[in-house]
């Protein structure tokens, strides 16, 4: 562990393959995520971005290749070792995934109560510190059903950092949020990352938002990495694919039309 922590790279992915039934989702991926950075995995819907997060978190096992987090090969860990590693990883799910039967306070306190023997008074203080960091100290007695979508995500974020993890993963943090909430979450991701010495991995397809806060962007398409670098590298990239994605062009390497037979044939040819 001591020599692993000197390693600049926290998450090292090599030759990663993953299939869901007959459908190949990831087809040989190599990515390095450096310690202390905010890295974003981008790509159109259905390219396996969330799958990649689940592989990093050990919820799925790769068909081939390795995912190393802090020097440990995630897929080869025993359940106990995996749980030890996960205590040092936070994850914010797309929907927040708050426990609907617990208050905001109890949601944030949940990992602390499960994994530490801290006295209740100290847990209270820690929860209030975490809630204050996301600006929701006053909402501690609300139930998840009383929160707006943006607030729920901030509570989820407070819960994800409650054990002071080394890294945090965000699954589509901006999807479906109003501009103010998007701004708040963007600022939180960057600020928490820098203040707490975290490493952040974001899965998103909101180009403008992640370009503003990421150190590294990795573009996925068709199960492969098509571009990987800083936001500036990507903007200057000559890859047709990256251009289409970043400029939101409707047609290009990702075709506008779902594969179909010839249009003329379809209209004037023989009917089936």
């Amino acid at each position: 562990m001591a020599n692993a922590s000197k390693d600049e790279v926290l998450v090292r992915i090599r030759g990663l393959h993953f299939s869901h039934g007959p459908r190949v989702i990831l087809d040989g991926i190599d990515v390095d995520i450096r310690r202390g950075s905010v890295a974003t995995i981008m790509g159109p819907s259905g390219t396996g971005k969330t799958t990649l997060l689940r592989l990093i978190g050990g919820q799925l096992k790769p068909d081939a290749g390795t995912v190393e987090v802090d020097g440990q090969n995630v897929a080869s860990l025993s359940r106990g070792e995996l749980f030890q590693l996960r205590k040092r990883m936070g994850m914010m799910f797309q929907t927040g995934a708050l426990f609907t039967d617990l208050t905001v306070f109890d949601n944030v306190a949940f990992p602390l109560r499960e994994h530490t023997d801290l006295p209740e008074s100290m847990i209270r203080d820690l929860v209030i510190i975490k809630l204050n960091a996301v600006g929701l100290r006053g909402a501690r007695d609300l139930m998840p059903s009383e929160l707006s979508g943006g607030m729920a995500r901030r509570v989820a974020l407070a819960r994800a950092i409650s054990l002071d993890p080394m890294m945090i993963m965000y699954d589509e943090p901006f999807t479906g949020q109003d501009p103010i909430t998007v701004g708040v979450i963007m600022q939180l991701i960057r600020r928490l990352n820098d203040n707490m010495g975290l490493t952040s991995v974001i899965v998103s397809h909101d180009v403008a938002e992640v370009s503003a806060i990421s150190d590294q962007i990795c573009l996925l398409s068709g199960g492969k990495v098509v571009a990987d670098g800083s936001p500036r590298d990507l903007r200057e990239s000559q890859s047709a694919w990256a251009k289409q994605f970043l400029n939101a062009e409707p047609d290009g390497p990702v075709p506008f039309h779902y594969p179909a037979k010839d249009y003329r044939d379809d209209l004037f040819g023989e009917r089936d």
Binding site: R86, G90, F93, Q94, T95, A97, F99, T100, P111
Partner: protein
């Protein structure tokens, strides 16, 4: 013919695959029981929602079943001048058969479906995944307490069903139809055997409780995490529990009462 065979094979394979998953799941749940007992507060909460909240439907159903049973039995027995046997007839039918079976069916409808829907929705809203990512095993934290609660509640609910049913038939028999109260109780006392009848009925309700809760929590945990998937899983819980309980009831009855 080929297609028919293929469909049969596919159906068979998926059935056994599911059965296997169900058994692995049960094993994991059982190994999670000690830690569920450690979090006894969770079990108490579940006992409330699974058990206490089912008492109403179990009580009302037990009462009406007992009353109807009293009426029907009386009409037949009175032809033979045997209306004094109303007590044992009603008690035996309830304690041996109707109590455990009907309580289990009602339990599946009231508590089992709720368990499946709750767990399925927790899965659909990524709460179970979230728990795993927080290094907490959802089987220990979510499934095991619910399983324990169902397993404890079902036999108690069956006992309540039988007791209330007997009271229902008492009200009808003695209050409306004029059966002798002393004969009703003394006949019941002398004809109903503790081991042969009561204990066998309790064993049935324990088995049904185990199976009904197992099916309910498994269907929730195994549900496809979508709106449609959860609704299907909930339906399956009720249907499969009904089949399992009725089938097991026949087997258990044959084993317990078959020889004499």
């Amino acid at each position: 013919m080929d297609q028919w065979l293929q469909a049969l094979g596919k159906g068979g394979l998926s059935f056994f695959e599911r059965l296997g998953r169900g058994n692995v799941f049960l094993l994991r749940t059982l190994t999670g029981l000690p830690s569920a007992m450690g979090h006894f507060r969770l079990v108490i909460q579940q006992l409330h929602s699974v058990g206490v909240l089912s008492i109403q439907i179990i009580g009302v159903s037990g009462l009406t079943v007992g009353m109807v049973l009293g009426l029907q039995m009386y009409n037949t027995l009175v032809d033979f001048g045997a209306e004094d046997s109303l007590g044992p007839v009603v008690a035996l039918s309830l304690v041996r058969e109707l109590g455990p079976v009907l309580a289990a069916l009602l339990f599946a409808g009231r508590a089992g479906s709720a368990l499946t829907a709750e767990i399925g929705l927790m899965k659909a809203t990524e709460q179970l995944s979230g728990m795993e990512m927080m290094a907490v095993d959802p089987i220990k934290r979510v499934i095991a307490p619910r399983f324990v609660a169902g397993f404890i509640s079902m036999p108690l609910l069956a006992a309540i069903f039988s007791a209330v049913g007997i009271l229902g038939s008492y009200f009808v028999g003695i209050g409306l139809l004029g059966v002798d109260s002393g004969a009703f109780w003394s006949q019941m006392q002398s004809k109903v055997d503790l081991m042969e009848d009561v204990v066998n009925g309790v064993i049935k309700s324990v088995v049904f409780g185990f199976v009904a809760t197992w099916i309910a929590v498994f269907e929730g945990y195994d549900a496809v995490p979508t709106t449609e998937g959860v609704s299907r899983a909930t339906t399956r819980t009720v249907v499969h529990t009904a089949f399992a309980v009725l089938g097991l009831d026949f087997v258990l009855t044959a084993m317990m009462f078959g020889e004499d």
